[in-house]
Symmetry: D2
Subunit: 469 residues, 4 copies
Amino acid sequence: MSDHQEPSKTLWHGRYQSEADQSLRKLNDSLPFDQRLFREDIVCSVGYAKALAAGGVISESEAQALENGLHSILNEFYWGQFKFEAGDEDIHTAIERRLGETVGPVSGKLHTGRSRNDQVATDTRSWLGHRIPEVNGSIYKVQQALFEQAKQHVETLMPGYTHLRAAQPITAAHWLMSTFWMLTRDVRRFEACRASTLISPLGSGALAGTPYPIDRLALAKSMFFHGITENSLDAVSDRDFIVEFLSAASLMMVHLSRFAEDVILYSSPQFGFIKLDERFTTGSSLMPQKQNPDVLELTRGKAGRIAGHLAGLLNTLKGLPSTYNKDLQEDKEPLFDAVDTLQTLLPALTGLIETMSFDPVRMQASLDEGMLATDVADYLVAKGIPFREAHGLVGQAVRRSLDTNTPLSKLALEDYKAISPIFDNDVYAVFDFGASVAKREASGGTAPDAVREQIKQAEEWLTRHSTSV
Amino acid sequence: MSDHQEPSKTLWHGRYQSEADQSLRKLNDSLPFDQRLFREDIVCSVGYAKALAAGGVISESEAQALENGLHSILNEFYWGQFKFEAGDEDIHTAIERRLGETVGPVSGKLHTGRSRNDQVATDTRSWLGHRIPEVNGSIYKVQQALFEQAKQHVETLMPGYTHLRAAQPITAAHWLMSTFWMLTRDVRRFEACRASTLISPLGSGALAGTPYPIDRLALAKSMFFHGITENSLDAVSDRDFIVEFLSAASLMMVHLSRFAEDVILYSSPQFGFIKLDERFTTGSSLMPQKQNPDVLELTRGKAGRIAGHLAGLLNTLKGLPSTYNKDLQEDKEPLFDAVDTLQTLLPALTGLIETMSFDPVRMQASLDEGMLATDVADYLVAKGIPFREAHGLVGQAVRRSLDTNTPLSKLALEDYKAISPIFDNDVYAVFDFGASVAKREASGGTAPDAVREQIKQAEEWLTRHSTSV
Amino acid sequence: MSDHQEPSKTLWHGRYQSEADQSLRKLNDSLPFDQRLFREDIVCSVGYAKALAAGGVISESEAQALENGLHSILNEFYWGQFKFEAGDEDIHTAIERRLGETVGPVSGKLHTGRSRNDQVATDTRSWLGHRIPEVNGSIYKVQQALFEQAKQHVETLMPGYTHLRAAQPITAAHWLMSTFWMLTRDVRRFEACRASTLISPLGSGALAGTPYPIDRLALAKSMFFHGITENSLDAVSDRDFIVEFLSAASLMMVHLSRFAEDVILYSSPQFGFIKLDERFTTGSSLMPQKQNPDVLELTRGKAGRIAGHLAGLLNTLKGLPSTYNKDLQEDKEPLFDAVDTLQTLLPALTGLIETMSFDPVRMQASLDEGMLATDVADYLVAKGIPFREAHGLVGQAVRRSLDTNTPLSKLALEDYKAISPIFDNDVYAVFDFGASVAKREASGGTAPDAVREQIKQAEEWLTRHSTSV
Amino acid sequence: MSDHQEPSKTLWHGRYQSEADQSLRKLNDSLPFDQRLFREDIVCSVGYAKALAAGGVISESEAQALENGLHSILNEFYWGQFKFEAGDEDIHTAIERRLGETVGPVSGKLHTGRSRNDQVATDTRSWLGHRIPEVNGSIYKVQQALFEQAKQHVETLMPGYTHLRAAQPITAAHWLMSTFWMLTRDVRRFEACRASTLISPLGSGALAGTPYPIDRLALAKSMFFHGITENSLDAVSDRDFIVEFLSAASLMMVHLSRFAEDVILYSSPQFGFIKLDERFTTGSSLMPQKQNPDVLELTRGKAGRIAGHLAGLLNTLKGLPSTYNKDLQEDKEPLFDAVDTLQTLLPALTGLIETMSFDPVRMQASLDEGMLATDVADYLVAKGIPFREAHGLVGQAVRRSLDTNTPLSKLALEDYKAISPIFDNDVYAVFDFGASVAKREASGGTAPDAVREQIKQAEEWLTRHSTSV
C-alpha cells in the first residue's frame, strides 16, 4: 500500500462526516489477506455484468465496457502492475476503484443490486471451489506413492502392532494401503464440500434479495457454480462450506499424523523398518550425526494447526445474529491457511513416501513368536476347543514361555501337553509367519492375495478419480 | 456393580500372574458408559454366530444355541434383569460372561476370529447408524414448526438486520425459512455420515483380518450395514464416522445458536417481535417479574459443548500409531453425549417454535425509513444514475435527514433537488415498505411471491425426507 | 529471499550427500515468520558470547569481536539493509551466516555448546517477555477509557439485564466497571505468564545440558531473564509459557467479546443507550443509511481466532515424545498472531470507548416497573414476610399487572390487599428507581456510593500498575 | 427422582399460569449433575444465615433454626436418606424445599437478598476451592513416585532423543526428573487458580448487589473464602476460575501425555528400557500374548478430553451479554468431569510409575557412538577449532563411518587426519558415554552431580508443598 497518499474515501462514505479512525482501518481492512481473491472477484463481476445486461438493467454495450475494463485489470494483476491505494479496504473495493479509473462512470453500474455481502460470499466460494480439485490432486499423488510402494511389498512381512505392542504379523503393503483408504474417505469429503461450496449466493443483495430481474441460476452457471442458494438471509452468512472444508481437512490431518507417527517410529533405529531419503530429512546445528524426520513431525504438528482453525471458526460463528455480521470476516484467514498448509505439506509427504525404502530383513527379524499366539489358539479351535478356552490355554503357554525364557516354538511337547492334552506334535507347524499371514485372506485381510485384491480396487479408484480432475 | 464380590477374572487373564490394580480398573473399565450398546452388541453377535456357521467354523446347532442365548440375554436387558458383575470391564465382556452362564462352553466359540477391536467398532457404528435417522426425525420436527409458522407470516413485515443494524424490510416468513434451509444442509451431512457409519469392520480381527472363512459382506448385510471396510488395519481404528457426526452436529448447533440469538433478541422487550409461550420460559428465584428464555440460551450454550467434543476427539486421535490404541476408548462419551444433547434439545426447541407468537403491529412499527435508503438509490438507478453515484447521493440525503431530524420521506423536494436535480416528486412513492419487499422477487428473495415459492420447495423437501424415515 | 542464487548450504550439512528437497525446504523453513525474532536472537547471542568468555571458552577479544559483529548486524536490520539468502532456514541461521561474513571464522565459536533447541526457546521467551508489558499497556488504556466514562455516569440509571431480560435498575458506571475488573484479572494472568516466560533455558544444549562452564544464572540475568530452567530435557521443549499466554489471551477475548456484545446491543436503535462515534463505525457498500459497529463485531469474532490458536497448540503438543520435536515449530505463528491481534484490537477498542456517548434520557426511559418487583418483595420482607413467600405474593401482583395491563405502581391498593393484607399505602414509595439503586450499597453493589468506592479502588489499581510499566 | 408424583411447583412460579413443558424441564434441570454440590450449598447457606443475622435482617434464633435445619439436611445426605422430588430443578431448590419441610416458614427467609445467580457461583467456587488441594495432593504422589525412581537411577545411562532420534547419552534420573519439574509448574497454576476461585460473589444478588446490610467480607471468611468480588454484575457471571482450571488441567494433561508417550515407547520391545508391572497393563481378548499399556494410552487420550472441555467452555462463554445467562449452566459438567478425570488418572499413573522397573543393561546397550559426535566436535573445539567448523569436520567423519560401516571409535586415525590434521590419538578417549554425561554438569544438565542437585531441589520443593496440604 502506498504510504504517501491521502487516505482515499471508502465506498460507503456518503452519510459520514468524519474519516474512519486509523485504528479502525487497521483492524478492519481485509486487503492484506483477501487480495488473493482478485481472480474470482473479477470473474464473478464479469458474470454479474452480463447478468445485469441480460436482465435489461444495463445495456449490452455497458456490460461490454465493464467486461473489457475487468479483463484489463485482470491483466494488471497477472503482470504485477496493479497498484493498491490507501483507501482500498479490501480486494473488492480496490477493483471497483480501479474499474472507475479504467472505464469511467459506467463502473458505478456494476454494483447495482449487489452488496459486498453476496459478492464476498460468491468470490470465496468460487475460490474454494477451484482449490478443492487441486487439493484432491495433491492427495492423489500421496495415494499414488503409497500404492506404488505397496505394489513392491505385497509379500514383505513385518510386525503388526496394536497398542504399539507386537500383535500379529502383517505385510508391508497392507500397512501402506491402510492409509490409502483413509485418504479415499478424505477425498470423498472434500468432494462433498465442493458440492456445498459451488452454490451461488449472488443476487441475494445485502440480505433481502435483489429488486432487479436477475436470472440467478443462469448467472451461477456462467460463474461455474452448480446451483443457487434458496434464501437470501441465509445466503449472505452461510459459511457451512468453510466449516466443512476445515472439518474434512482436520480429519485428513489426523490420518496423516497417524501415518507420520508410524513412519517416525518405523524409521527410528529401534525399529529400523524404513530408511528415509536424505533429501527428506534434516540435520542438527549441534549434533553432527543427526538425521531428523522433520517432514513427518511437521505433518503431525500441523494437525493441531488445522484443528485449531476449525475450533476457532466454530467459536466465531457461534451465537451470531442472522445474516451478515462483521465477525464473518474471520472466515478467510483460517481457510486460506488450511489450503496453503495442505498444498505445502502434501508434496513434501509425497516425495518422502516415494523415496523411502524398506528393510525387509530387519522387518522379518522383528517378528517374534508371541505374535503367533493367536494362531496357536486357532490351532486349538481347529481341534474343537472353544476359542475362549483356547485363548486361556495359550495364555498359559505364553506364561511358561516367559517364565522359562523359551520361545513358544521351543517349548517341549510335554509342556504343551501339561497345559492341555489336545496339543500335539503338529503344533510346531503353527510357527510360520508367512503361513499365518496367508491365512488372513478374507476381504480386507493381510494375506498377500487379499492385499492384491485391495491394490486392484485401489487402482480402479485412483484411475476413476485422477482422470476426473 | 455388586460390591460384595471377588473381582472376577477378565477375559484376557491367561498369561497374567497378578490381578489388575483397582486404580487401573477404575480408569480402564468402560462399562459405565458403553452399557448402552447392549442391543447392538447382541444383534451383531447373532449375526456373527450365523456367519461362523455359514463358513463352517461352528455348526448350525451351535449357532442356534448362541442365538437363543443371546436373545434371552437381550430379554434380560429389556426386563431390567441383567446383572453386571465386578469382572465386567465393558458391555462386551459382560454379555460374553452371561452367555457362558446361559449356554455353557459353546459360548466360548462366539469369539472365534473376533476381537474386541472389530467388535467395539461394529457395535458403535451400528448404534450410531440407528441414531442418525432418529436425530434427523427430530430435526424434521423443528423444520415443520418453522415451516408452519412461516406459512402464517408470508406477508408479515419486519426489519431485516445486518450487523444487528436495521438494513432493509423483510418478511417474517423469509426470516423463519432461513433457518429451515440451514437445517436441510445439516440433515444432508447427517445422512452422509450415516453412509460412512454403516460400513462393517467385522471380520477384521484385532488388526490383521480373520483366518476364518467369513463372508464379510453377507455378515454386514445381516447386521443392516451397507458395505464393508477395505483394510483391516484401518478398520479397527477408523473413527471418521464419529468425527463426521460431531462435525455435523457442531455445525448444526452453530445454526441453532444463531436462531436462538435472534429469538432471544426478538422476544426481548426492546424488540418485542415475538412472544414466547410461558411453558417454554422460566422465572427467577429472586425477581418475581422475570420470564427467561432458558431454552434458547441453552441452545446457544450447548453449541460450545458439542464443538468441545469435536475439538477434544480430534486432539485424542492426533498422532496415534496405526490400528487400535486404547486412546480410542475416548470416542464414545462425546458421541453419546452429542446424541443425547441433540435429542433433549430439539424437542424443547420444537415446542418453543410451535408455541411462539408474533406481534405484527410491533414488527411493522419497528420499520424506519432509513431502511429504504437502498430503494431510493435504486430509484436513482432507474433514472440512469450509476449505482455507486446514487449511493453517494442518497448518503447525503440520509445525512441531511439525520442533521435535521427529518425522516427521509419528509425531506422537502428542494432538499432532494439540492443534492441532485434528478430527484423528482415520484421519489416519495419509494417510501412504502411493502412495495420494497415485493420488489425482491428474484429467487431466494424476501418478496411474498418468492417466499411462497420457497415454502413450496420446503414442503417438497420435507415430504421427501420425512416419509423416508 | 533472492531467487537467482544457488541454494546455499544449511548449517547441518556435514554428513549429508544430497541437498534437501525443495518441497522439504518450503515446508520446513521458518524464516518467513521467525524473522521478527532478530532483535532477541542478537541480544541473546551477545549475552551468550559474554558467558562463553566468562567461562574461559573463548577469549575476551573473541567475545568482543562477536559482540561488535552482532551489533553491526542489528544495525543492518534497523536500517533495512539486512539481506536474506536462499540458504537461510530461519532467523538464527541467517544471523549466524551473516556473522561469518562480518567477523570471519571466529563467528563459528558462537555456537559452542549451544543448539538451536535452546536458542530458539530463549529467543522466543525473550520476545514474549518484552511483549507482555506492551500488551498490558494496551489493556490499561482500555481500562482507563472505561474508568473515565464511568466517572461521568455514577448516577446515570439504566436497566440491568439477566438472560437479556430487564432485571433490576443499575447505574451505567457499574456496568462499565464490570469490564474493568475482568481486565484486572487478565492483567494478572499475563503477569503470571511473564514470570513463567522469563526463565532462561540457555545452556541446555540440544537436550542434555552444556559441557562448557557456563554460569547459566548470570547469563540469564544478562539477557534480562529472572531465573533458569531446572532440567535441560524439559527446557528445550517447554512451551508452557506460550500455552499460558494463549489461555490468558483467550479468556481476555471472552471478556472483550461480552463487552462488545453489550455495546452492539446498547448502541442499536432498539436499545439506544449508547451512540458510537462515526470514526469507529463503518458504512455499507449497498445501503446508504448504515453505520455498522465493525470494531465490536471483530472484537467478538476474534475471540474465536485466539481460542482456536489455543486449541490448536494443545493438540500439537499432545503426545509428543520428550525433548525437542519439530512439531514444536508450530508454536510461533499462533503466538505471534495472538500478540498482533491484541495489539491491533485494543487501540481500536480504546478509541471506541473513549468516543462513545450515552443517552441518559433513553436509558432512564427504558426502566420499567417490573424491574422493581424484587424491591416490592423486599418491602414485604421488611414487614416480616419470609422472602420466599414475599416472592410468591409479588408474582401474583406481576400477574395481575400483566393481565390488566396496569403498571405495578398503578395497581389499586385493594388489588394489593387482595393478594395480601400486609400491603399498605407505603408500597407506592417503592416505585422509585433511584431509591432502588441507592439501596444496593453493600460492597460491589450498584449504589452510587458503592460505585464511587469501586472507582477509587480502580484508580489505585491503575496507578499501581500503569506506573510499573 | 420419584416418578409417581405431581411435578411440584418451582421456586419462581408466582407470575406463571402454566406449568413448564416437560421438554423444557428435561433440558433445563441441572439436578442430575449439580447434586454433588450439596455440601457446599449447605455450608454456604449456613454462612449466609449467620450473615443475615449479623446484619439484623433476621433474628439470631431464626438463624439458629436455619442452621439446625441445614445441618440435619446435611446429615440426610451423608446417610443417604435425602429424597429428591419431581419439582427439584437443581440442588439449591431441592435443599430449599427440604428446609421448608424441616423448619417451616422461617426457611423462606434464607433467600432474602440472595439469588441463585450468586448462590450457584459461590457453591461452585467453594467446591472447586476444596478440590484443588486434593488434585495437587494427587500430583504430589506422581512426583514422589518419579522422584523415588530417579533417586535409584542417577547413574543409569540411557539414550537421549530429539526428534525421536538418538541424540546424546543422558541419565534415567534426568529423564524422570524432566516430568517432575513440569508438574511443579502445573501445581503452581492450580494454586493460582485456587486464589482466583476463593473470591466470594455472595451478596451480589441476581446482578445488582444486595439491599441488605451484609458484611460481605466477613461472610466470605466464614465460608473459607479469601476475598470478595468487586462488582456484582461481573460477579454473577465470572467463570474465569473454571477456565483457569481447565487451562491448567489441559496443560498438565499435555505433560502427562508426553510422559505417557515416552513410557509407551520405552516399554515397547523395540526399546526395552522399562518393564511395566502386570498390575498396570491389560491383555487382549483375542491375542493371548499381549500386555498393553492401557493406563498410559488413556493418559494420552484423555489429554484430548480435557482440552475439548476447555475449547467448549470458551466457545460457550464467547459473546454472551453481561451478567448471568443460562448458557453458563454449561460450566459445571466440564469442570466436574475434569476433576474426576484427574482424580481417576493420577492414582493409576502413580501406581504405574512406582511399580515400573528399568533395564539398565538394555539401556546402556542402546547407546551408539553416533551420540558422541557432538563430543568429538567439542574435542576439536578444545583444540581451538571454532565449533561451526568442528561440526562440519565431524559430519565428514560420521559420513565416513556410515559409508564404511565402521563405528566412529574404530575409524583409523589416518581417516580422521584425512579430514583434519588436528585430530590426534586422544580422539579415541572421547568414546566414553559416562564421561560424556559427566561433562554436562552445568545447572540443569544430565551429569550425575547436576542431577543430584536437581533431586535435592525437588525434595525441598516437595517437602515445602506436600506439608502445606
